[in-house]
Amino acid sequence: MNIAVCVKQIPDPATPYDLDDDNHWVVRPNDQVLDDTDRVGVEVGLQLAEATEGTVTLVSMSPSGSLQGIRQALAMGADKAVIIDDDTLKGSDALTTARILSAAIDREEFDVVVAGGESTDGYTGVVPQMMSEMLDVPCLSFARKVDVDDGIVTIERQTASGYEVVTSKLPALLAVTAGIVEPRYPTFKGIMQAKSKPVETLTASDLGVEPDVGQRVTEVADVASREAGDIVEDDGEAYLKIVELLEQTKVI
């Protein structure tokens, strides 16, 4: 089975990063890391590959930089990567991203496309749905448990009140939610092998896609800082005070 997993390299969330003053784009450092939600996607892809003796191809649109984030996913066990690194794609909106990723995936036959529900840095959360339209395959969103058997993929779709069981024929696209599987640690051997796994770098024109970024971020504002909370000193009767406060705010 051929499995494509969409992954994103993002600036390390543990260290502060900047937005460009003019266009408000994220200033991307040379060393980026694998988006944490994509670790989940990679894990799902690897589990499907292990169950079906398949291969996992990573597909990513981002400046290559040191490729550190991609290598992290290869170290987990993915077989190869395709990265679309093109200056004309800077500041891409979700639609352009979906067109590029779909075009890259569509070059080869695939059975399953796995994508994270949303990225940690962009948060548009619509790319998987757009891709499924472009690739003309069903989109199984909010997938938590994933099984493939005999050409049929079955997922549990997370809902507000529980889950639905959804099945589809292959090929199909899965948008996975965080927390469904525990992403594996990259092993030492995996890390050592990662540097010799094939990484193909493409531009938009290699894919025959004309970048047409229609979106501009015109302003970025900080979240209004929250007011300090009230502190209730516990003199043994604090619970009464708290119950009263909760009643006032109509929480209880």
């Binding site: 060393d31 040191s66 290598r71 170290a75 092993t187 030492f188 051997k189 890390i191 050592m192």
Partner: protein
């Protein structure tokens, strides 16, 4: 010179930004071990230490990660650089010296001599299983009456027809009671040779040393060999004399000089957090000059220790590291770590004597680390000889 200094205050732990000196691959390896330790070791270590249990269930997981014999090539080993091996030791020992000790013994003291001095058959037979963690090894050099002076050992091996017959008692042997195989160093015809001895061989027994107050989460044992008969080809063919065990010890000491930094870092981090949080006389104890001095000394120890380790690691990877430089690193970094642990313990006050905080556990562990793999005194004498040209011991 650049024109101005960076405006940001350095990180309180990685103050010198040593992280920037690592490659992406090294950081990835380090992060893998750090996460493993955070998930599997840190939550349980106080209990293991208290109950004096070694977490045998982690061995296979360490094998799966590639931690065992990681710096060796082939035979199922990961084949990492020396720096990567060192960084892994730092993270493991930040968890507990017992866990690092286990990997040092397995990788550097047992797998390494087989890999370096063994026959192809011996390598095929032992290394893949040891790399995966199916087979646990121990290293028997020290005896009750033969510690710093291993040349005085009495354990003997003699050829009897087609078999070696081993007799003697080894003491202070890490992993002894849980090992499947032991590398036993013994005197034969006036020379020291290494033997690969399966621990289920008749005549071989191991007695766990109880009531120790250091490295409690590690198994330390006495090995008794009474007419242990092993095949002719169980000897390591390609080394004779003290050079054999000493080259193994050099491997392990290299891991220790990185590992000690991890133990120190763990102590410092816990003292720093505590000092900022704990209030006395109406302010955090971190606000007192005396405490700040302690914290700063700890921070400096951890950072210079890491720089030293990384420097020696880079030299090792380029093939220019000498045994005396390893002694320098082992001596300096273990001493530093012990100082940091004691200082951290004092910052933690009464809490510092409990297992809720890591300082006293590391402090006690480091007493062993100070003594094994060449005591502080022996490394001082090695350095003394190196700079004066005069041996104060033989």
């Amino acid at each position: 010179m650049t024109e101005r200094l960076k405006p940001e205050t350095p990180d309180p732990v990685d103050f010198l930004a040593i992280d920037d000196l690592l490659t992406g691959e090294e950081r990835m390896l380090r992060d893998t071990v750090r996460k493993f330790v955070a998930d599997k070791v840190t939550p349980n270590i106080a209990e293991w230490f208290e109950n004096a249990t070694f977490p045998a269930e982690l061995v296979r997981e360490m094998g799966d990660l590639g931690l065992l014999g990681m710096h060796l090539e082939g035979y199922g080993c990961a084949g990492t650089s020396a720096v990567a091996y060192g960084l892994a030791c730092t993270e493991l020992e930040a968890g507990d010296s017992a866990i690092r000790s286990f990997t040092s013994v397995q990788g550097s003291l047992v797998m390494y001599p087989i890999w370096e001095f063994g026959t192809e058959e011996q390598k095929q037979q032992w290394l893949p299983g040891m790399a995966s963690g199916e087979i646990i090894g121990c290293f028997g050099l020290t005896e009750a009456d033969s510690g710093s002076d291993p040349g005085s050992m009495r354990t003997s091996a003699r050829l009897d027809g087609d078999e070696w017959v081993l007799n003697g008692t080894k003491m202070w042997i890490t992993n002894g009671s849980i090992a499947d195989v032991a590398i036993i160093w013994a005197i034969t015809e006036g020379d020291i040779r290494g033997f690969i001895v399966p621990t289920d061989t008749p005549g071989f027994s191991a007695n766990k040393i109880e009531q120790k107050i250091s490295l409690r989460a590690s198994v330390t044992s006495e090995l008794v060999l009474e007419d242990v008969r092993i095949p002719h080809d169980a000897v390591l063919p390609n080394v004779t004399g003290l050079k054999g065990p000493l080259s193994c010890l050099n491997e392990a000491r290299f891991g220790i000089l990185f590992g000690a930094v991890g133990a120190a870092r763990s102590c410092y981090e816990s003292a720093l957090t505590y000092a900022k949080d704990r209030e006395q006389f109406g302010k955090p104890i971190a606000a007192f000059q005396l405490t700040q001095r302690k914290l700063v000394e700890m921070m400096i120890g951890v950072n210079t220790g890491m720089l030293l380790a990384l420097h020696l690691g880079r030299k090792r990877d380029e093939g220019s590291l000498s045994a005396e430089q390893v002694s320098y690193g082992k001596l300096t970094n273990v001493r530093m770590a012990l100082d940091v642990a004691r200082e951290a313990r004092s910052v933690l006050g009464a809490s510092g004597i409990t297992l809720e905080y890591p300082a006293i556990r590391h402090m006690n562990n480091l007493e062993s680390v100070y003594t094994y793999e060449g005591t502080n005194e022996i490394h001082t004498l090695i350095l003394g000889q190196a700079i004066t040209g005069i041996a104060a011991f033989s």
